[in-house]
């Protein structure tokens, strides 16, 4: 039970009366109750897709954490911890038993059952690569009774709990059976979860505004909050996420108190808020992001490993990071493909990228490989600031190394559509593009989407066909001890740098800014609004 139990009925009463008042106000055609404690937040993007399973968009994931809950959750030591369920692992490591804790309710008032969770896990596994890996090794997944889920494996899989607790990009969110029965290719029709907030459907404006209300029947765990684990205690009545496409507008709104929280103020604009005593600028997601570039293995010239290597040599993380972030306080060069500051981080094989650009050597390699001047198509998104500078800087660096670069501007969605094309660059394909990941999305060879050598059918965009990589990855899966895992991971990275699987371009963090009236912002890889308090 919660430590703060005495305070709760009073707060409930207050909340209820406020809700009543707000209902009154709403019936009087008014917009919102002024008295209710509302946190207004500007997130990095507008919520349009409400199904956190069908998409990997971070904003949908963040939305998922508001409305839905997970069986397990990861703590700040990257260890899976119970959230909705306690777990037990059998001696042979083949049977996992999850027991739902008491008092879990869906937002429609019905109790959470093991059956619901089984269907949810299956739908999740159909969409998430990690989940798929788990299912490949699963003998059976079923509800033993209303509160017990039994997972039987064909072979031991050391990462089972890590997968179920994975924080990004598609966490295993639990949904009622009727919703989770939706085909994994179709978006879910309703937003009924068991999370600490309720989705207010009537106020949802796709791309503009999402409103969450405290789910009063939610029973938080008693442990203190730690990353995504621990008790999800909600201290405010409403959370509104509003979209402001213009960052300066949002900053001005934050400074004038029109909003309380801004997820990603551009680092360059932080000086505007400097000296404003009402505002805290801090990093909640301390691991931050990896920015990277990926080449297309299917078409010349990057089907030639030597030319890929030349491109790797041409790159300079510092230049990219400076253009992308600017303030060195918020970025660092990082050669680890798994991100820095995580257990598997290493510099192995990363020699070329740590040289801060070696155009001479790159030119030499190009000559050696007989590069014929074929222009390489770099896709440059113009509308998303977190991915638009990389290709511009890269183009500059590649040119210096003797590449003939065709920098093609487009909006991000065009890029997203076009990178799926396996055609030659001259026929709507591409040679290179750039994107960013939150570290938990790349931190192991299992989740890192790039480290997959299954070729045009099964690999991520760029489609390397690399049996050796698969072999090494398998060794990682089989590794039992952390030491063995690390060793396997290092081998994978060394190999990946040799084949230039992709080019990590450094790590950066993105501070958030909030008004001092907000306290209790949790450090986590995802912006979360439980534990947050708002004072007048």
């Amino acid at each position: 039970m919660h430590a703060d139990v005495d305070a709760r009925p009073r707060r409930w009463l207050k909340g209820a009366s406020l809700l009543f008042l707000s209902a009154l106000a709403l019936s009087g055609m008014s917009d919102r109750p002024a008295q209710a404690q509302t946190v207004t937040a500007v997130m990095h993007s507008g919520v349009r897709i409400l199904d956190p399973i069908i998409t990997t968009a971070h904003i949908s994931r963040n939305h998922g954490y508001m409305v839905f809950d997970t069986l397990l959750a990861m703590d700040s030591k990257y260890r899976p911890q119970p959230q909705m369920a306690e777990y037990k692992v059998s001696e042979d490591g083949l049977t996992y038993t999850f027991t739902l804790r008491d008092g879990l309710l869906w937002h429609d008032g019905t109790p959470v059952t093991a059956e619901d969770c089984v269907v949810s896990l299956k739908r999740w596994a159909a969409r998430d690569a990690g989940g798929q890996m788990l299912m490949d090794r699963t003998e059976s997944l079923a509800a033993a009774d209303a509160r017990t889920i039994t997972l039987k494996l064909k072979e031991p899989f050391a990462y089972t709990l890590d997968m179920i607790a994975k924080p990004s990009a598609v966490p295993a969110f639990m949904m009622p059976k009727r919703i989770a029965s939706t085909a994994p290719t179709e978006a879910i029709p309703e937003q009924i979860g068991s999370g600490p907030f309720r989705f207010v459907a009537g106020e949802f404006q796709p791309g503009v505004k999402v409103v969450y209300e405290k789910f009063k029947e939610y029973k938080p765990r008693s442990e203190p909050v730690d990353w995504l684990a621990g008790g999800k205690v909600v201290n405010v009545d409403r959370v509104e996420w509003v979209t402001m496409p213009d960052a300066q507008t949002a900053i001005n709104a934050l400074m004038s108190g029109e909003i309380d929280y801004m997820e990603q103020p551009p680092v360059d604009l932080l000086p505007i808020m400097e000296g404003n005593e009402d505002i805290t600028v801090d990093i909640f997601n301390e691991l931050g992001y990896q920015t990277m570039g990926r080449m297309n293995f299917l078409h010349p010239p990057f089907n030639n490993p030597t030319i890929r290597r030349a491109a790797l040599l041409a790159m300079n993380q510092e230049d990219v990071l400076q253009a992308l972030v600017g303030n060195p306080e918020y970025y660092s060069a990082c050669a680890s493909m798994y991100g820095c500051g995580v257990p598997l981080a290493s510099d192995s094989g990363a020699g070329p990228i740590t040289k801060k650009g070696d155009p001479k050597e790159a030119q030499r390699l190009l000559k050696e490989a007989g590069y014929d001047g074929t222009p390489i198509v770099l896709m440059q998104p113009t509308d998303v600031t977190s991915v638009s500078p990389q290709p511009v800087v890269a183009a500059q660096l590649l040119r210096k190394a003797g590449f003939n670069v065709d920098l093609q501007p487009m909006d991000w969605q065009t890029l997203v559509g076009r990178r799926a094309s396996q055609n030659p660059p001259s026929q709507g394909g591409w040679n290179m593009f750039f994107t960013n990941w939150v570290i938990p999305e790349v931190w192991t060879p299992l989740v890192n989407p790039m480290l997959n050598g299954r070729g045009p059918k099964g690999a991520w965009f760029g489609w390397p066909d690399d049996p050796k990589l698969e072999q090494l990855r398998n060794a990682f899966v089989q590794a039992k001890t952390p030491e063995a895992q690390k060793e396997a991971a290092v081998a994978i990275q060394t190999h990946a740098y040799e084949t230039v699987n992709y080019i990590p371009l450094g790590q950066y963090t993105s501070p958030a800014a909030w008004r001092k009236s907000l306290t209790g912002i949790v450090k986590a890889p995802v912006p979360i609004f439980w534990n947050v308090k708002k004072s007048k």
């Binding site: 349009r48 503009v208 402001m244």
Partner: protein, 313 residues
């Protein structure tokens, strides 16, 4: 009159058909994939194909077109591919800010532009005329977003007279509404004022050369009566026309202004939908704005007969 109305409405059909076909083809014949938008960063080729199929995007373009037209005829604009919200709902959520902003802009513009135009025409060739004309050319020349930023800097940040962003419905009270709508409307009005003032001036210049204005003066009427009672009403038809054709300009301006001032209107909805390749939303919105354009111009044409008794339909 009813016959004319019917004829005009029938005449709008081919226009709308052209719009529908044009937009549909534009969307379907150009690259971009809503399925990829929906699936996000980690989708595999196979997953994309499955999502595409479930959205019906794997069918031939002509089949998609026919089924869309079928929907349209039933009054159904379809459902957003991305948010799964009916397009009509999306539009209903977003239309109020746009319409109220447009109306306020229109009101402000007319109140500012018409007297300015009349004054300039009356003082043709003089300093006033030159000042008004320079002002209006300036309105054409500075991009709306620059004007927006300047207004924000001066009136919201430095003077703190208005909030920097946002929108409040008129139903929240006229005060809060005006507080947030004034700056965007002023920014938008810059083009519209220029347009209407120029037209008013030009039209008034023609009219002031007419014999009946001389007659009015010969009657010993005061200059204000000559200008506003006799000349302005005769000059009104081209002014109305430019207000109508300027509507398209207004919509364009709204798109920009809505981004600068963070107004959740249909302008931003459209840009967002285009960027996300949300076909049904784009189609619905462009059809809607086009229909609105046709409708407004119809209303304006009908208003001619109120302004000028010689025009009868």
């Amino acid at each position: 009159m009813p016959g004319y109305l019917l004829r005009r409405i029938l005449a709008a059909i081919p226009v709308m058909v052209v719009v529908a076909v044009f937009v549909f083809l534009l969307l379907r014949l150009t690259p971009g994939d809503p399925a990829a938008v929906l699936a996000g960063d980690m989708a595999t080729p196979e997953q994309l194909a499955r999502i595409r199929a479930s959205l019906g995007l794997d069918k031939p373009v002509i089949v998609q077109f026919v089924s869309w037209i079928g929907q349209l005829l039933r009054g159904d604009l379809g459902t957003s591919l991305i948010s799964q919200t009916p397009v009509t709902t999306l539009i209903a959520q977003r239309i109020e800010p746009t319409i109220s902003l447009a109306l306020l802009t229109l009101l402000l513009s007319i109140l500012i532009a018409v007297p300015l135009g009349v004054l300039a025409a009356w003082r043709h060739g003089g300093i006033t005329d030159k000042a008004v004309m320079s002002f209006s050319v300036l309105g054409f020349s500075v991009p709306v977003f620059v004007i927006g930023y300047i207004l924000i800097q001066i009136f919201a940040i430095d003077l703190k007279w208005f909030p920097v962003q946002g929108f409040r419905s008129i139903s929240d009270g006229i005060g809060p509404f005006l507080q947030r709508a004034t700056l965007p409307s002023l920014a938008l009005a810059s083009i519209y004022v220029a347009l209407i003032a120029r037209m008013t001036r030009a039209s008034m210049l023609e009219v002031l050369g007419e014999d009946y204005v001389r007659t009015a003066r010969a009657k010993g009427l005061r200059e204000t009566a000559v200008l506003f009672r006799h000349a302005l009403r005769n000059a009104a038809v081209p002014i109305m026309t430019v207000i109508g054709t300027g509507f398209a300009l207004l919509i364009s301006g709204v798109v920009v202004t809505e981004s600068v001032f963070n107004v959740p209107g249909i302008g931003r909805l459209t840009v967002d939908a285009i960027l996300a390749r949300d076909y049904p939303v784009i189609q619905g919105l462009i059809l809607l704005t086009s229909a609105l354009y046709v409708l407004i111009n119809l209303v304006i044409d009908l208003s001619y007969s109120l302004l000028d008794p010689r025009i009868r339909y």
